[in-house]
Symmetry: C2
Subunit: 473 residues, 2 copies
Amino acid sequence: MRLYERLANDLEGLIRDGTLPAGARAPSIREFCRERAASAASVVRAYELLQARGLLESRARSGFFVAGQPARRAPRSTPAGSCRRPWHVEVSQLIFQILESARQRDALPLGSAFPSPELFPLRQLGLHLAHVGRHPDPWHTIEDLPPGNLTLRRQISQRYRLAGASVSPDEIVITAGALEALNLALQVVTKPDDVVAIEAPCFYGCLQAIESAGRRVIEIPTHPQRGLDLDVLESTLQRVPVRACWFMTTFHNPLGVTLSDAAKQRLIQMLSARDIALIEDNVYSELYFTRKRPRITKVWDSRGLVLDCGSFAKSLAPGYRLGWVAAGRYASDLWKRKITTSLATSVPIQAAIAHYLSSGVYERHLRRLRRTLARQQALMVAAIRKHFPGDCQYALPTGGYQLWVELPEHCDALSLHERALERGISIAPGPIFSAHQDHRRAIRLNYGHPWNAASETAIARLGSLMREQMQSR
Amino acid sequence: MRLYERLANDLEGLIRDGTLPAGARAPSIREFCRERAASAASVVRAYELLQARGLLESRARSGFFVAGQPARRAPRSTPAGSCRRPWHVEVSQLIFQILESARQRDALPLGSAFPSPELFPLRQLGLHLAHVGRHPDPWHTIEDLPPGNLTLRRQISQRYRLAGASVSPDEIVITAGALEALNLALQVVTKPDDVVAIEAPCFYGCLQAIESAGRRVIEIPTHPQRGLDLDVLESTLQRVPVRACWFMTTFHNPLGVTLSDAAKQRLIQMLSARDIALIEDNVYSELYFTRKRPRITKVWDSRGLVLDCGSFAKSLAPGYRLGWVAAGRYASDLWKRKITTSLATSVPIQAAIAHYLSSGVYERHLRRLRRTLARQQALMVAAIRKHFPGDCQYALPTGGYQLWVELPEHCDALSLHERALERGISIAPGPIFSAHQDHRRAIRLNYGHPWNAASETAIARLGSLMREQMQSR
């Protein structure tokens, strides 16, 4: 055990035995360094660990405080009928701790949010970038200001038509990736303190965006197999002044679940009746393993209430930072907002992707990518069947590259994450996908990286760690 | 006179003679179309014109209302001693109307915020982009996440050292252009309703960012020759809880003025004593015409309170959207904020600019660019001397590409803008640089475009329009 872990465990002991009760001030970093003759780096790391365990809170300029009695931190379920009130979110600190650990270069990235960059035609795409570089058009600097490069918007509009949605190039606004798209959409359709309905669990970027923007959330339970609970949504809309929804109805992150066509249609009817905007995070919809492309909510959106946010990051060009919003009635507000927050999206990047799409090879690349991801999913699931305890639960997504696994009783995702990271494996623990840090008995695993012996070993190790957790209770 | 102008003038008549008093509802667009047998497009344009003239206001879902008695719209000066209280800003609508007009393809862009893209080595830069395209490194997708590409941050850090400021690569965060840099800086150092001290006049992007973020402003008068009034700032800091300042102390936009070294030093002392952050919009500082590079506030910032925001857009690569913040003590908060709002800056763009800078030709390009801009300034000033009324006032900036011209009595910048645009000339009227729409007797002219006969004619036309305005009163 490393020094910082020992320091953390000792302090945890003081909290658990009540020497440091909930709300008490923890020793300052300086005091603790002196007391234990430890370096500041070790103490800082110990405090971070205790924050990740939910035992300490830092308050700006005041130091560290005990977060609450350990008993309070037991897994909390969110049954569909439970009473929920809108609230402001405070999640970023935990998420950042987890994300940073997933960036460790040598860790096996099962907790990563990204697929392997090796799955993408970066070399081929680079040739289109090179073409654009050799033929610069100075006037694009002005012409490609928001809403963005027209050729590119036409190409994206055509892809919507393939998906059965009639989206004109005029309602598309090019952005620096989907995350900017989603943030802009949120800013355009809501004001501070407005209530946004979100899924529980949901993509942590959604929680961070809402926290940054000072909106409130109301969580709608989302089931790993059935998806968003529309009955709860309906009753919520009746009693809470929801201003907008932020959902992922196709290949949900982290659950992987997709709403049925009928459910999507019902959702749109429900929101249309109340004039509520839907921010749809649709970044995985090209990555389907089924024979037929899934239909998206935009297909039924006759009133322009859906802001469908897409990106090439997961399907073509990670790192290029190119996304868009099909913003319906909000298109003009959206591109103005874009102008005031980041002015424009990189002109050569817009031109390079437009040039690539026009070359007609995108569909072939996508077919190959879908096959690869489906195969990698099968390999990971086979390893899980072999190595994980029998009572692990998971549902097979029909697209994307993330698998949601519910752990056996007595397992804890946050401490599993810590232990796994010590063994060079990153995982995404359930609590980072929740405004309440729920889902402590679930993890998200990424199968977007080429499968090899190290992957198999990592799954086996995770299985052993789970068994250790089950036995130590 | 075009139809929409006639419609606007007729409605203006009804407002001026009191038929439609302040606060009264204006006819709806549909009613007015029917009444005048005009197309919706003409009526919409007429209403936009009346909004630009400050006579009509649109209220969401309610239609148009008379803004106030025309008498209220007389130019309002902001003497240094006047009483000022912090307030929320609402400026974006007017700014967008003006910006949109400046985007007209055929208009001579004296009102543009951008220099001519032809002044930049886009072809040479494109070769570096092509190089990056042909040699993609998949792992950069992860490694160049915020704070950003290390080679690039080292290059930028070296340029700070040339300017006399010791800025380590660790405190630099790469952004998608300076506007994102400034917005992130604002979000990191302030909360909603906090008071931000700004210059008056100031860059309209500052007003828009503060409006979007829901912060309040307090204006500090800024003189075309002496710059920011530090005495007023000092007394303001004594009575108002200013949380941060957002200033341009080098080649101020729109005034062009630069604070002296002594004044910059006094400013930093004043803010350090109160622990107030300075968001420094420093996008023009490479464009100096003097023999010596101007010193920047960061030089004296020993406490890490300056967030120096820079960009390659004005000096090297318009349209690439690459900027940065040297964020001092806020660096870690800043790159985390960047991750939650736009995840990362385009990887190939970061790599291409880093590759260009490493090639060692940037300084040569800059020397040429500075000479060109200085020459174009001299040509514009010669034309102004020849064609503008004698009582126009202006001070010669020692860098940048914008000239602030104060118009003779009885001239009005907003109506000059309208008239000029009808003649194919865009200008930037003073009111877009003010939270109160002050500076109605000033315009900003851009000399960042190659000087030619059309430029000369445009200046001559502007002179005639001013004389017409003077005579019609």
